[in-house]
Amino acid sequence: MTTPTAGEVEVKDTGYEQLIGAEHTNASLTAKIGDIVLKQPSPKQWFVALGFALMGLSALLVSIAWLFYRGVGVWGLNIPVAWGFAIINFVWWIGIGHAGTLISAILLLMRQRWRTSINRLAETMTLFAVMCAGMFPLLHLGRPWVFYWLFPYPNALGMWPQFRSPLVWDVFAVSTYFTVSLVFWYVGLIPDLASLRDRAKKKIVQMAMGVLALGWRGSAAHWYRYESAYLLLAGLSTPLVVSVHSIVSFDFSISILPGWHTTIFPPYFVAGAVYSGFAMVLTIVIPLRAWYKLKDLITIDHLDWMARITLVTGLIVFYGYLTEIFYAWYSGNVFESFMMKNRMTGPYNMFYWALIFCNGLAPQILWWRKARRNLVVLFIMSLIVNIGMWLERFIIVVTSLHADFMPSSWDMYTPTIWDILLYIGTIGFFLLGMVAFVRLLPTIPIAEMKHLLHEKLHHKKAHKEAEA
């Protein structure tokens, strides 16, 4: 959200043609994005997605009800593997949530204009992914009704959190992350809500959008405050991108378990989070831009740039895997080297090699421009990355726990139907959130796109003048 200055326009950077494909005017942009919500009937794919989302949601409700009735014993947990799907899925979802803030905050501060058309979508994805993530640590408690004891609040129970435990940091990290993401998302929405309010024909929509727009009139003072608040929030969220997943990685690295007790975890987790987040954005954006005919706003170059970030972070993640192998050998620690051997040749070796394929080998295809610009390849690739990052968390949680220091306690972990249903349920919940968002709110930030359009036209004019 930078206001263009004369100096900036001269700078030759990413071509504006790549950012806004077709010839647009302010009016056509508003109409195109706003009408998805206000006029345009939903495409039939939307109803299909809604159907799947509702099915997932019922799976979620049923599995939570059964879980609350019978307790965590309905899951496939046993004693060496006391953390299973719940923690795997928690880390997976929270990782997915990272792309939103990276796109909206860090790319904003870095003045990457291509963030504009995907940031709203990525932020919404973050919100629902963090909600899904936040569900798991609470559901996985043996006594979930006392989850609030994790918060430091004055009470007469003699309860106070143990601040040395990373689980408490998780509570703060995730709740802060959610709050800041929500505020950031909402602040960004305000001018667009006002646009929708003004365009809406139905009274109820006008009322709803009007209330949500908080009386936005688009005055200079409004814009000035909006821009300051937005920049400030971007600054606030930037450290969160790094801190949240670092803290999640501490859950593991604080323990002395082989495979968990490594210093590489924080950077490797953060890179993995961004990697999986971008993959999820791709998974959502590719069908969405086809169904809603948004190819002029979310161009092939946007997908290309996202694919590049996926490649870079994928390489960091793969480097992390190689470092783990190196240190398993270099540490000279029998448990560490056994852990690695067990991952590669033990009972879960299929998962390990699938992981190496998904996160190590498959992303290398993104070196090729042709692959990055091929929708089918990119979509399949994004699914592979999503699966790969889930496998990574499975490998970390399960292989380290199932065979640790005491061979006498080794055991295998097999998820039950309730583990799987709950996981599918959260995917359904996430999908429902996205489906509702696309229908109810502007998927692409209208105001920011208009800024971009303004820059584009200005740039064109300056270019013509220079030529003349």
């Binding site: 307790g71 965590v72 014993g73 947990l77 004693i79 006391a82 006594r143 143990q162 005491m406 006498s408």
Partner: protein
Amino acid sequence: MEWAISRRRLLSRVTSSALAFAISSAAGVMRLSAAETKTGFDPGEPPPPDADVLLRMQYELRKALQKPVDQRKWVMVIDLRKCVGCHACTIGCVVENKLPPGVVYRPVIEEEFGTYPNVGRRFIPRPCMQCQNPPCVPVCPVNATWKRPDGVIIIDYEKCIGCRYCITACPYNARTFDFGEYFTDGTPHRAPYEEAPSFEYGKKWYRKNEDSPIGNARKCHFCLHRVEKGQLPMCATTCIGRATYFGDANDPDSLVSELIAKPNVMRLKEELGTDPHVYYLT
């Protein structure tokens, strides 16, 4: 230099301060465990040298209970040469603490070693190691587990929210989780003994209606509820081979102090730096 006070005065001061010390230390004991002083643990006469080691350990335990809690250091010594692998300690523990399926405080690990024909078997009872540097304690998000001054790591069932972080953190797998299962699940009738209360930590814990300890982490606590009543832990009492010793390592004359001074002492995974309070004689 002249004494400023008379001898009588001095004597009375000495006796009164000694009395005050005795009272305050007794009060200290009382504060920590009111039950101890109520029943009184007169250790009595030391048993004759040829008496059963259980009698000696019980005498030493009661002697240790005379001291304030922070001056005791409960340790367990397990003589692997005497262990015959009968698992009586495991069962004794299960009965004493009314443990449900999946919750075992003191399994006996069986290990085969060597290559044919030079093979052997050994049995390693594995209670909680009650580490001096317990990895399970700092990870608890709600301060539900901690190390007592006498070195025993305990869990406050009422505080524990069941996140199982301590279970993953323990390198000895000494912690288990109470999933709320019963041995008679799937049978027409739940046996009444399955709902009998356990007396862990000196309280009554009924396992029904999702009440604690269901949904909690559970572990060996050296039978603190017995120890504080002047009784040895159940596993030590049950051991048919007298392979398990229990006592106060801060008492230089105790049996356990004698044993851990021996050259053939080892502890599990010492390289992890947990400093366990369970010693093995090999």
